[in-house]
Amino acid sequence: MPDATTAPLVESLTQSLETMTFIMANASQERPLPPPALREVSIRFRSDTAGWIELAAPEAFARLLAANALGLAPDADLEPAVCEDALRELLNVTCGTLLQADGVSRNEPIHMSIPQVRSMQPEEWTLFIEDARTQVMDAEGYWIAIRFVEEGPSA
């Protein structure tokens, strides 16, 4: 069960998805089996505190994301790099939206990293969605999951 702090994260993700791509996503209490061909994208931030956000999603969702963002048909033939770029940009925008809207007064400017994408193994998905900080979401039939991790004061 995700904890209460996931609500602003979910709101930032849904707002970014809808505005960039017209994709609707809803939080779910389901614990789905690992989707095929998973990708994980992560972004780090640093200010008075530091942390990161991770998003796990299947390749098929990344294709839909890229196609919608570019105004193409959902079955458009897109290079994997284009789909991964769309995932990176979604998380970049989600992170900026979350940190701008969280109402936390910070003394230091916020620095955000360039998002990174990697393959995610099925067993990693299972562990990921079991974490209390992870929110599973249904994005137009695709299972995706997102987690916000704050490390405490930055070094």
Partner: protein, 128 residues
Amino acid sequence: MPCTVLIVDDSSTTRMMIRRTIQVAGLPVDRCLEASDGQNALDLLAAEPVDLVLADLNMPRMSGVEMTRRIRSAPANRQVPIVIVSADPNLSFLHLLEKEGIQGYVRKPFTPEGIRNAVARLLETVHA
């Protein structure tokens, strides 16, 4: 008079979204150039003049702020309008950007109207 716009963002998705928005908006833009970071943008600007720059802040190799400083340091580009299109969460940073010579700010996730309005407003000043 048709204009040339330079779109600077490390995300190819965002560059294409902005390009498509400009193309369908009926704006007086006949060319959209693209650069994937600040250094790439400076190289393009050295080769040909543009009428407007739309740039991200957080990019590899050279940030949007550093790119703006360098554009402004070149006499030929001192007057080129620059609009930042970014997810940067530092709202207090905006007045500093204005000091760097930035004329507009569009927050990501942007709407087509946000891009269209910013581009239209600044192209009017170019033609004035």
